[in-house]
Symmetry: D2
Subunit: 98 residues, 4 copies
Amino acid sequence: MHASMELCVVPIGTDVSLSDYVVACERILEEAGLQPQLHAFGTNVEGEWDVLMTALRRCHEELHAMGAPRLQTSIKLATRTDRPQSLQDKVNSVREKL
Amino acid sequence: MHASMELCVVPIGTDVSLSDYVVACERILEEAGLQPQLHAFGTNVEGEWDVLMTALRRCHEELHAMGAPRLQTSIKLATRTDRPQSLQDKVNSVREKL
Amino acid sequence: MHASMELCVVPIGTDVSLSDYVVACERILEEAGLQPQLHAFGTNVEGEWDVLMTALRRCHEELHAMGAPRLQTSIKLATRTDRPQSLQDKVNSVREKL
Amino acid sequence: MHASMELCVVPIGTDVSLSDYVVACERILEEAGLQPQLHAFGTNVEGEWDVLMTALRRCHEELHAMGAPRLQTSIKLATRTDRPQSLQDKVNSVREKL
């Protein structure tokens, strides 16, 4: 099952700067063979469901290992069966009409 | 790894009533041995990471099988390593101070 | 315009315990005449759009005043024009079918 | 109060294609003087709190006027008092370390 996912990991009880944690997640996603699309409120990725979920778990494990005592991740997870649609397709379908 | 999760599955391109889809998810979560706590904006569950994620995938598969062509699920996923904390603990820690 | 809202305010760069911040939000929502329904991943409220939004702003102002340098709030905001639906209606429509 | 916001409006009970609705929101945000940054899971904007919230309300009003009977919007709302930080700053702080 193909899926698209946005994830935004928020460490709680850490310093006010979160960029080191976001960098760690980007690297994990890339090592999983994904092409993360970083934006100001998270990272968008697409791929096989299980690949996405394994990478998500590794993000939690790694950020705890880096010292974050508590994590709350916000995720949007999208699947569709009517037709394939990439992350870029989603953006293009809007851009074409603007 | 123990985790807490809120999930809110939104079918797109279906009828305006979503309760049949929510009912299907509740049953899947219960069959997974979880104790879903339904509220007006989703369902809260807690348990082993992999149990939660397997149930989440089954929800997507089942709702597509029911005819939803497109799904977007909003998830909050929480883990902590400093101490165990149940869903009820989270609510109690606030209620005690109110 | 009537609306339903779930909010989950996450302070960043603070202590690992968030209950004092959640308590402050609950009080602000109650002082606004709302009846917040606390659960393990946020608080659900319903009412006039502007009342909800004014209370939301006060939550951010108060939590900064309490010392949180950075806040990220996750919100679900629901409106419908086909028929009125309370928070309780949403839960009941599922419970009746379980 | 300056704020950053991600919004993702999901119409319920409509056709499976959502691009017309997203286009309408982009135009409302631009008419409000904002510079929406569209991505595959929403749109990021920044500006004065009240400007953002007025635009958000107009999005709900317009999409209902377009025929969507039911809307559920997912929002992330960020404020900070320790230092100013633009949407671009957030992305740059990660990119510099990658």
